[in-house]
């Protein structure tokens, strides 16, 4: 198959030589004073965005009486790990982490696969009734969850899947993959048809075209989807609250809710748990988005 310059652009002539264009960072421009102003503004914006996480962090290390005496916005008088360790033991955080990991990973992988299959048919295959399918999948993703809870509960009970992680995985795979379908279809709709046709001419069937051509070239979008799905599923609260009853099955956000009592809230423990709950998703995002950038900046793909 012929090499191409860049994935999925509009009007690049396929037979121009592929120069593997340099990634932007190499051709650095002069930094005028304007650049520093812009940079400064961005740093200020960062402070606004990172500030709240910092506040969560400092409250995780306070003892309860410290919080009582000085409030949430003061620095800790003495750093206590006890709040965090107590919380960990109390809700058996290790198990919750594993549950969240299982569910989020499963949903991310299955969701991406399902979305790819669907989008292939809609975006590239251009099946009849395309617009209808797009609407359908968009709707599947955005149906308000409150309305679904009672019916899903009854259905799950019938097949004995109430209070099980499988039920949650299936439900979220459907919901997230629908978003993925919606996103990926739009992107694949702009896929250069000459590549598909070239593959056809070479004798590839639709499956090979999918796995050999479409899949590698959709990697940026797929990575983004994978990351989104993981984080969204990790942070899901409502359906896991309803479906995961036994403590052994619960996920991290549900465990956090344990701290919201009937009359008051264990604040330092909530901060500690928030920190613990956020770190995995955060790590995941940081790790994944580096491969994302690296993968693309490498340029030409076969």
């Amino acid at each position: 198959m012929t090499a191409v310059t860049r994935p999925v652009t509009g009007s690049v002539a396929p037979d121009s030589a592929p120069p593997a264009p340099a990634p932007p960072s190499v051709r650095r421009r002069r930094r005028g004073p304007m650049a520093y102003v812009v940079f400064g503004v961005l740093v200020a914006v960062m402070a606004l965005f990172l500030g709240p996480l910092l506040i969560v962090a400092i409250n995780s290390f306070k003892s309860a009486s410290d919080f009582a005496a000085h409030g949430p916005l003061a620095l800790p008088h003495g750093w206590h790990l006890s709040t965090i360790t107590r919380f960990w033991k109390r809700v058996d955080f290790g198990t919750k982490l594993i549950n969240s990991l299982e569910i989020s990973l499963a949903v991310s992988v299955l969701g991406v696969v399902l979305a790819l299959l669907n989008s292939y048919a809609i975006g590239i295959g251009r099946v009849r009734g395309r617009a209808l399918f797009l609407v359908f999948f968009l709707m599947v993703n955005v149906v308000p969850q409150e309305g679904l809870v009672y019916p899903l509960y009854y259905l799950a009970k019938q097949v004995n899947l109430y209070d099980s992680k499988i039920a949650v995985i299936i439900i979220f795979t459907v919901i997230q993959s629908a978003f993925g379908t919606y996103l990926l279809s739009s992107v694949l709709a702009e896929f250069p048809t000459e590549l598909i046709e070239a593959a056809e001419i070479d004798g590839a069937n639709s499956w090979r075209t999918l796995t050999r051509i479409v899949l590698p070239m959709s990697w940026p979008t797929l990575s983004v989807m994978f990351t989104f799905f993981f984080i969204w599923t990790w942070n899901e609260f409502f359906l896991p609250l309803v479906f995961l009853i036994s403590n052994d099955n619960q996920t991290v956000p549900v465990a956090l809710a344990v701290l919201q009592g009937q009359h008051s809230m264990d604040v330092t423990a909530t901060s500690a748990s928030a920190l613990l709950g956020v770190l995995p998703a955060l790590l995941f995002f940081l790790v994944f988005q580096r491969t994302l950038t690296r993968g693309i900046a490498a340029g030409a793909l076969k």
Binding site: R6, G10, S11, V12, A13, P14, D15, S16, P21, P24, S25, R28, R29, R30, V38, L42, V45, F49, P52, V56, L117, Y120, A121, I122, I124, G125, R126, V127, R130, L134, V135, F137, L138, V140, N141, V142, V143, P144, E146, G147, L148, Y150, P151, Y154, V174, F179, T181, Y182, S186, V187, E190, T193, P220, V224, L256, A274, V278, A281, L282, F285
Partner: protein, 317 residues
């Protein structure tokens, strides 16, 4: 699309619809089957059940009692219902329009400006920072923001220190500033999503387009308008559609920050439905609210998809 090379064999030009038909014989429909079946079982059937329940009165256990359209007439006369939809309009602005526009600009700045003048590393770092609020559970960010916005909290303290004493107020407790405060926080939460989406989309752009434009003397803004916005059109539609619908469905932020108060100043349909389902044990009423929301969302979805597919098939400029 700008930069038309495309001289040469017809395969280089975008073929008209007629060319595409060749693909259909390859049975692409089968790829859709697993997705469709699962979606049907997990979403469509429960949705139908939900609509059915909206015509009943049911506390959640036992047998639903058929009451016809009484839930809907009651809804029609419920001031809370109308208030919640008024607030939704404002929320669409804060959660969809502003983040999308701002996100696009930020993505372009980071991708085109910062990455070139500093390093792609710093652009990545900024992107992660902007995305951080999306990673935090809304429950957590809600609690933190409610601390910050307390009458004696950090925001008021900062305002006083900066000499902006007139800005000091009871952000979340005063009915006049409650909704705007919630909207501000929603923008904070939502902004990272469009930025990440658009930056991913921008990866697809051939940098030669930018360089060619720059050599032609196009400034940053012109490059933005002519190249960036066009190139990320798929993402633009998706982001607008999903953020608009997310705005219609807003629940968590209101739940954590104000519970719909003060009074019903920040009530939204989703929270209203949730209250009916889980606090009032009035499943029929909640189902009615949900059903109307679904209808509204359906309309928005159809509109967006039509706009999008029309843009696709109309060819490219």
């Amino acid at each position: 699309m700008s930069g038309g090379a495309a001289a040469g064999p017809p395969a280089g030009r975008r073929p008209g619809p007629g060319r595409r038909r060749r693909h259909r014989t390859r049975g692409y429909f089968w790829y859709l089957l697993p997705g469709l079946v699962l979606s049907f079982v997990v979403i469509v059937v429960p949705l139908a059940m939900n609509v059915g329940l909206s015509f009943t009165s049911w506390p959640g256990v036992g047998n639903p009692e058929w009451i016809g359209t009484r839930n809907y007439t009651r809804l029609f006369h419920d001031e809370n219902f109308w208030a919640s939809f008024r607030h939704t309009a404002a929320i669409v602005l804060a959660m969809a329009v502003v983040p999308t526009v701002l996100g696009l600009v930020l993505a372009a700045v980071l991708f085109d400006y910062v990455a070139k003048r500093f390093s792609s590393r710093s652009a990545s770092l900024f992107r992660s920072g902007l995305y951080l609020p999306q990673v935090l559970p809304v429950a957590v960010s809600g609690i933190v923001w409610s601390w910050l916005l307390l009458p004696d909290g950090a925001v008021n303290a900062l305002a006083k220190d900066a000499g902006l004493g007139g800005l000091v107020r009871d952000w979340l407790g005063d009915p006049d500033s409650a909704l705007p405060s919630v909207l501000g926080i929603m923008i904070w939460i939502q902004l990272g999503y469009p930025v990440v989406m658009f930056m991913a989309g921008l990866q697809r752009v051939n940098p030669e387009l930018y360089e060619a434009a720059e050599m032609d003397g196009a400034g940053w803004w012109q490059r933005f308008r002519r190249i960036t916005v066009h190139q990320v059109r798929p993402e633009l539609y998706v982001v607008l559609a999903t953020t608009t619908i997310a705005a219609l469905k807003t629940f968590a932020q209101v739940f954590v920050l104000t519970r719909g108060g003060p009074g019903n100043a920040t009530l939204v349909p989703s929270y209203f439905a949730y209250r009916s389902f889980f606090e009032d044990a009035d499943v029929g009423y909640g189902s009615a609210i949900s059903s109307i929301m679904v209808l509204l969302i359906l309309v928005v979805g159809v509109v967006f998809v039509r706009l999008q597919t029309r843009a696709d098939t109309e060819g490219r400029r």
